[in-house]
């Protein structure tokens, strides 16, 4: 038994060189996520501080704008995609082969894409009601925070595309394995941020 080389899922000795090779990269990626958390933290704080009568500037507020059914559906999609992303990691750990991993990644991408579609249609209906980011300080904070998360999801989808390409071209090489570890961390991280958004933006907003 080798000790874990980094936080999170480790590939273990049976993966040969892929195991030690991932030590620095995974650790470095954790450090990046901590930095990204600061970015989200600032937007969370800005959003929370703008939920005042002054911040709303006489414009529409949470009660008029949020559609909890859609948000619940988005949450379900994203949580499910975290599960399927976890399945991709476990398939790799269990040597299930590139095909299985690619399949789980594809499902993850579909769920993530579904999340994004719903989010965008919510945005569109807000815009249609004249509740765009330029309407009030509070809406600026909302669109920046939720939009940044959406941008991260979009980047994640592109990343899945790259991973599928790599799996197709290079198979399950050591480098690709490490990249899969990083992607999984990223995706779960976005899930966590979403839980923050769900509770602070939507639940608190409608409470």
């Amino acid at each position: 038994m080798t000790a874990n080389l980094h936080p999170g899922l480790n590939l273990g000795e049976s993966h040969g060189a892929a195991h030690p090779a991932s030590e620095n990269r995974v650790f470095g990626f954790w450090v990046f996520l901590m930095s990204d958390l600061i970015t989200f933290g600032i937007l969370f704080a800005t959003y929370a501080a703008s939920g005042t009568p002054m911040g709303l500037a006489g414009g529409p507020g949470p009660a008029q704008l949020f559609d909890l059914t859609s948000v619940a559906l988005q949450t379900a999609f994203l949580l499910a995609s975290s599960l399927t992303c976890g399945m991709a990691s476990l398939s790799m750990k269990a040597h299930a082969g590139a095909g299985r991993i690619a399949l789980w990644l594809l499902v993850t991408a579909l769920l993530g894409g579904g999340f994004l579609m719903l989010e965008l249609s919510d945005f569109a209906s807000m815009l249609a009601q004249g509740a765009g980011p330029a309407r009030s300080g509070w809406l600026s904070g909302f669109f920046a925070l939720v939009g940044l998360h959406g941008l991260h999801i979009t980047a994640g989808l592109l990343w899945i595309g790259v991973l599928l390409g790599l799996l197709a071209v290079q198979g399950l090489s050591d480098r690709v394995k490490t990249r899969l570890l990083l992607f999984a961390l990223y995706w779960h991280f976005l899930d966590l941020v979403w839980i923050g958004i769900f509770s602070i933006v939507f639940l608190r907003g409608l409470a």
């Binding site: 501080a49 500037a57 009030s136 600026s140 480098r175």
Partner: protein, 692 residues
């Protein structure tokens, strides 16, 4: 509105303005723009004439070697320093004549202090610090490179893009006029509809992201890539300060990236983060900006403290006094630095009890710094002191930095700050810590480690001339500003009405001339040293009788740094080997070495980022989109690269190392008396050293 060229047309250059409205003001602007254009043309001509494009491409622009990247950071820092100092001198000249007017327009003066401040913090001090860390840290901890050599290149590319945009702003259009902190609502689109704040935003954002990536790289390198035996409490102090600065970069850079992008959303998309109307809150900008701004000054000064630690120990031939206390003080500063940011806006209207909490935190941070100053003085005590160039800077630092620190403690008292904030007293204070603290340390550090990178020492006499000019020039320029501030002269004033300010303004103006001479002497020192590189060469690699690992290899250091990764058994690892054994023995066996392959990724990202930033500034949407897509594509294509490293055969390393060892064994070392003579070839003989 925005066709193929966005808001660009032929009237945006300062040349057009100088023709339309000739006068001192427009001629100064056109002259500066002319210098940039001439400089660029001269550089292109020079590279072509001497057929240097090939070597530049092969050995530098595509290199992932941490030493080369570090040198390129330092070159950016020195070039931008020249511009920043020139701007400072122009401002001083203007203010010396600014009783009821002055030669430059108010807007031009505002552009000058805004570019000057932005340049000095983000494109002089930061690149010099990051460059020095890049060069030194892997050598000090026994590593072959940074943990992520290619990401290192990308960081450099992003910083260079920001610097490039700042240079472009001198020729095309105008820079922002709201100071280096760019406070809205003034920089919002209602009050500053032009391109100025956009130039600021798109130089700051890439530099911020680049620095954050550097922080990750440094932190992972120091945590994960140390040689066996290099425990935390054996790390050289410069590495310790680099570690703390790296952690701070990771946490302090996102705020400035975010606040700048929020400002961009306000300006481009009509958001209301910091506007006067519809629920904007401009105080939130100051809040977020200084969450970056204050830690940033400690990011700059901690590695400077690291330089002083190395310099004081080496040039007094003693172990650093109070190593554990220096480590603890460094970490304490890194933590407390995140708890004081509010002292930049004591007057913004929060309650007195909030102010005093941050005031006390600010005073507390002075304590660990005081500890350090005493540690360095104790290190020098009864040492074998040589007054080399770095030691001259250290002497200046000791006296001047303590003055700057004490005026900082004065400003930390909110009651006093209400009186002197926004005056020249504050300008005197921060130049007083930044110049003797950071800039002197960087110049000293360059002098100290230059031989390790290039294989020859810098000219001592010219170096000393420069050092003394910097010290005297600083005093004459900036100490009078304390008095002017107490007399009530506001900062950022393009003119004033009180004749009482004139005499001290003239003194400060004269000081600026001395500083210009100091800059010139610094550049002459580099030029003279390059010419005399033969007599100044130190191929054996240890010109200062060094104590830490970087001195245990040839100079210039080979691309792979260490022929074999050293096993570390003591704190001053190389010193321990020199006193307790023989540091120059061939290892039993050599191994193949894996090195990063050259890549153009950093350069591609640099060009694409510059293009995108320029295009966003001028609303050239097709180019902006191409730039951003280019960045994304470059990263994605890179993911498919498989041949990212190359292998250097053990036999080759053995030949290189063996030749050097042989030369060392036939050479004769010098004592410290001959340190500044051509006899110093970088091999140290035992000296009359006293303390362990």
């Amino acid at each position: 509105m925005s066709g193929l060229f966005g808001h660009l047309d032929w009237t945006v250059t300062p040349f057009a303005a100088a023709i339309a409205d000739p006068g001192t003001n427009t001629f100064v602007a056109a002259g500066a723009a002319g210098l940039v254009v001439l400089g660029a043309v001269a550089l292109l001509g020079f590279l072509t004439w001497f057929r240097l494009w090939g070597p530049l491409w092969r050995d530098w622009l595509t290199s992932a070697d941490h030493k080369k990247i570090g040198v390129m950071y330092c070159v950016i820092g020195i070039v931008m320093l020249a511009r920043g100092v020139a701007e400072g001198a122009v401002m001083r000249a203007h203010q010396a004549m600014a009783l009821n007017g002055g030669p430059l327009s108010a807007e031009h003066f505002a552009e000058l202090f805004s570019t000057h401040g932005t340049i000095m913090i983000l494109f002089v001090a930061a690149p010099l610090v990051i460059g020095l860390i890049n060069i030194v840290v892997p050598l000090q901890i026994g590593a072959r490179d940074m943990a992520f050599p290619v990401m290192n290149q990308v960081s450099l590319g992003l910083t260079a893009a920001g610097a490039a945009l700042l240079m472009i702003s001198l020729v095309i259009g105008r820079f922002e006029t709201g100071g280096w902190s760019a406070y809205p609502p003034y920089t919002g689109r209602v009050f500053s509809p032009g391109e100025g704040p956009d130039y600021w935003i798109w130089s700051v954002v890439p530099a911020g992201i680049g620095s954050m990536l550097s922080g990750i790289n440094f932190a992972v390198t120091i945590y994960k890539c140390r040689a066996p035996g290099m425990t935390y409490m054996r790390m050289p102090l410069f590495t310790w300060t680099a570690l703390c600065a790296a952690i701070m970069l990771v946490y302090a850079m996102p705020p400035v990236t975010v606040s700048s992008l929020m400002l961009a959303l306000d300006r481009y998309a009509g958001f209301h983060f910091f506007t006067n109307d519809l629920g904007g809150n401009m105080m939130n900008y100051a809040n977020i900006f200084w969450m970056f701004g204050h830690p940033e000054v400690y990011i700059l000064v901690l590695p400077a403290y690291g330089v002083w630690s190395e310099v004081s120990a080496t040039f007094s031939a003693k172990t650093l006094y109070g190593y554990p206390s220096l480590v603890i003080a460094t970490m304490a500063i890194a933590v407390i630095a995140f708890t004081v940011w509010l002292h930049h806006f004591f007057t913004m209207g929060q309650s007195a009890s909030v102010n005093i909490a941050f005031g006390i935190a600010t005073m507390i941070i002075a304590v660990p710094t005081g500890v350090k100053v005493y540690d360095w003085m104790a290190t020098l005590w009864r040492g074998r002191i040589r007054m080399t160039v770095p030691m001259v800077y250290l002497t200046g630092f000791f006296i001047l930095f303590v003055i700057g620190g004490l005026t900082g403690v004065i400003l930390a008292n909110p009651t006093i700050d209400y009186q002197v904030h926004n005056t020249l007293f504050l300008v005197a204070h921060f130049h007083n810590v930044l110049i003797p603290g950071v800039l002197f340390a960087m110049l000293a550090g360059i002098h100290y480690w230059f031989p390790k990178v290039f294989g020859f020492r810098l000219h001592e006499t010219w170096g000393k001339r420069a050092a003394w000019l910097w010290i005297v020039g600083f005093c004459v320029t900036f100490l009078p500003l304390y008095a002017l501030g107490l007399m009530g002269m506001p900062r950022r004033s393009s003119s004033f009405a009180d004749p009482a300010f004139v005499p001290l303004q003239l003194v400060a103006g004269a000081g600026a001339v001395i500083i210009l001479l100091a800059l010139a002497a610094t550049l002459v020192c580099y030029g003279v040293s390059i010419r005399q590189r033969g007599t100044l060469a130190v191929p054996f690699g240890d010109p200062w009788d060094g104590r830490t690992l970087e001195w245990a290899m040839p100079a210039p250091a080979p691309e792979w740094n260490f022929a074999v990764i050293p096993a570390v058994a003591a704190r001053d690892a190389f010193w321990a080997e020199k006193t307790g054994g023989d540091p120059y023995v061939a290892p039993e066996r050599y191994e193949d070495i894996e090195l990063p392959r050259p890549t153009a990724l950093g350069l591609v990202i640099c060009v694409a980022t510059t293009a995108a930033g320029f295009a966003l500034t001028w609303h050239i949407w097709w180019l902006a989109l191409s730039g951003l897509v280019g960045i994304g594509l470059a990263v994605m294509v890179r993911a498919f690269a498989t041949q990212t490293t190359r292998v250097l055969p053990a036999a080759e390393v053995a030949v290189h190392h063996g030749r050097w060892l042989e030369a060392v064994h036939t050479a004769r070392g010098i004592t410290r008396d001959a340190e500044d003579s051509p006899a110093n070839r970088g091999l140290a003989a035992p000296d009359t050293e006293v303390t362990p």
